[in-house]
Assembly symmetry: C2
Homo-oligomer: 434 residues x 2
């Protein structure tokens, strides 16, 4: 038994999904205890060079080798756009196949039709990849925060515009210059309209609204305003006032319980965490009546982050396939718990902050540095201050490069034996991966 998957489309995201299904197969299998198998990929141009090139025998130009094929349980729609995505998605649902999609435009425009068809045919429609790329905001709203009445959701939902605004804010670029740079860096399409006019983010906002408030508003009922008219001048004034300008998606209930859904440039206090989301990142701040504020942030687009979300949906469906009701997801998310030793602290490598309490005499620093060097520990920075009047000891602060804990400890044992070291040395590890 296994869960079999067909892909419609193999562009950027499709390449990532194919790569994970083919390369991470053993890992996924170990985690679920149930195989997730790629069967076919429908593409227009089999010969095209892709970010990841699946073996040629997976490729077909006929989508109906996937849609309606009884041996394929899940259809992953990664075509983008409204047609033929809508027709193929509905045909898949009508033939009893589950649908996974990253297509926010499709769901924002035709969501009612698609979700209704899925309910009628008792299949699932999952779309974690459709909003905020790799950030698992769909599951968070559907499941993690499911018991909350949401006060408001604020989102930075489009990486292209956030990149452009970051460059305009940090470096004073004009919109046109920042856009050109984003296009050169691959963060913006040749035709950037959907992004810079706010439509892409508005599609995502519609889906967040559906998840939070149980209603799927029409695009036409929303105020949607892009970033094309923002000037460096406005950004400079905003800064002067203590604000940063972001393209902000808002879905909220006002004090009278009315639904507020809008997408436009907004000034945020410079110290607010959303103001600090920079470059192509996305973020969603959810405020619920019980949980208070929760923020999620991460990559809002990109081949692998988006594929990560598609795979989460596929694993969800495979887990549903695997069992009936209980233990769809085992308690710890793994089918088997392994025994695995934890690396000894003594073998861990980090950088270190060291504070020596030393006598204010010549040669002390040299003696300590020599002991450290003997253990292979090199220094990134040293600070020594003059002693305070009346004090005999001074602080000698050192920041090391990466070192192994046992070497560091051995060096400190040596140095603490020096007569000029007057107290046990204080140590704080420095996370160099941050």
């Amino acid at each position: 038994m296994k869960t079999t998957v067909g892909l419609l489309g193999c562009g950027h995201v499709g390449s990532g999904v194919a790569k994970m299904l083919l390369e991470d197969h053993d890992f996924i299998n170990e985690k679920m205890g149930w195989p997730l198998a790629l069967a076919k990929i429908a593409v227009r141009r089999p010969q095209a060079d892709r970010p990841y090139n699946p073996p040629a025998d997976f490729l077909t130009t006929d989508p109906y080798q996937i849609v309606g094929n009884r041996e394929i349980q899940v259809v992953v729609e990664l075509l983008g756009g409204l047609e033929p995505a809508r027709t193929l998605a509905l045909e898949a649902i009508e033939s009893g196949q589950h649908l996974v999609t990253a297509n926010k435009a499709l769901l924002a425009h035709h969501g009612r039709e698609i979700f209704a068809a899925a309910a009628r045919h008792k299949v699932e429609v999952l779309f974690e990849a459709a909003v905020a790329g790799g950030i698992p905001i769909i599951r968070t709203l559907k499941e993690g925060l499911s018991a909350n009445r949401f006060r408001h959701i604020f989102g930075i939902l489009n990486g292209t515009t956030n990149y452009i605004l970051t460059r305009m804010t940090r470096d004073g670029l004009t919109f046109q210059a920042a856009l050109a740079e984003a296009q050169a860096a691959g963060y913006a399409e040749a035709d950037p309209t959907l992004d810079v006019e706010g439509l892409d983010a508005a599609h995502k906002l519609i889906l967040l609204t559906a998840l939070a408030y149980g209603t799927l508003p029409a695009l036409e009922s929303l105020h949607v305003e892009g970033i094309t008219r923002l000037t460096p001048e406005d950004i400079a004034y905003a800064r002067e006032l203590g604000y940063v300008i972001k393209l902000l998606a808002v879905s909220a209930r006002d004090e009278d319980g009315r639904l507020e859904v809008r997408l436009h440039p907004a000034m945020l206090p410079r110290t607010h965490i959303l103001a600090e989301i920079s470059g192509p990142l996305n973020a969603v701040l959810v405020s619920g009546h019980a949980v208070g504020d929760v923020l999620l942030n991460g990559a809002g687009a990109g081949m692998m982050p988006t594929a990560s979300s598609v795979l989460a949906d596929l694993m969800d469906l495979a887990r549903t396939d695997r069992v009936n009701s209980t233990s769809r997801v085992p308690s710890l998310g793994w089918s088997i718990l392994r025994d695995e030793p934890v690396k000894l602290m003594s073998e861990t490598k980090t950088a270190y902050y060291l504070r020596f309490t030393v006598a204010d005499r010549p040669g002390v620093l040299a003696a300590i540095a020599k002991l450290l060097a003997e253990r292979g520990i090199s220094l990134a920075q040293v600070i020594q201050k003059n002693p305070l009047p009346g004090q005999e000891s001074v602080n000698l602060v050192m920041l090391t490069h990466l070192a192994q804990e046992k070497n560091l400890m051995a060096a400190l044992a040596d140095s603490d034996r020096l007569e000029t070291v007057l107290a046990p040395t204080r140590l704080i590890r420095v996370e160099t991966r941050l």
Copy 2:
């Protein structure tokens, strides 16, 4: 048909869970299309005054009115500590009841026994509330990011110590003074040992490690170091070096694939997002091979945030009860999609940034301010600069208090008709809820 729930314990978190089950019943029912019913609450002292006092007929002093009761499908263990929590949890599992728990100590110490018993008896053990309070990090690791091989997880998992460190960092307090203040503010227990020595965070770290790496390390195999020895001096030096000190939980694979699990004070670059998590908040930064870095942050403790996580687990079990395999969670997380109008943008209230391009003449500011005032719009801040040499126009920047969009637009329509206003006025909305 319904899913029936019994609570063991009704302290801080138990009160929140009882409150949500009793007060948010209609909302939860609407969302799931399936009732989640509170049956009984076992407490030691029925007369005690609680943050939320459930009706007396829910209370019993006999836990076996819940554990082993065939009419109760889910036992929520909120006793804390190892015994009698362990015995009651195992008895519930053995009698076929699902277990929901917020008890990290229990799972860190007896997780193997408990998860094995649950697998044997085909029931679920859910524990979203056991790590990082309201932040849905358990589901995120189990489901949202399930396809990722995790490179590392960094966590700020204890709100008490983060509050203390924040006070020490921002205001130069000693550990003892900050602890006393945290106790007075309700952020630290009378006996703060579990928190300040790092044990509470270590228990949570063990669970994150199990979710990320499929192994449940023994507490004794971890380096666990609290914050009691940190001094204001160290914190000041860290700042001087560009760092902030946090109590950091680390679960990672090193370059050789070995498991690194440790909990100790660590210096983080001051500009890193984790360094900015302040006060009693928690945060988890997850790095996966596909998704890259994802950060979740929010309330790590507290009655309602923790109850939010318990309710997410209960709704998960109820949804499993409700259906067999498909549509455990409907696509949009709601059983029925409603039609609901979106408030018109013209009726929306925000604050506004306005930039007028005006002639450099006396009385212009007064004329504009008058038009705004006539529409009930009041100003928070005004900036007017001298014109650049050779320029005839100047920028007049205003920040308004909350105003209704239609009033603001009407005022701008008026002001843009002034002969001294030389170009259409630029407007950016200011999010006052941030």
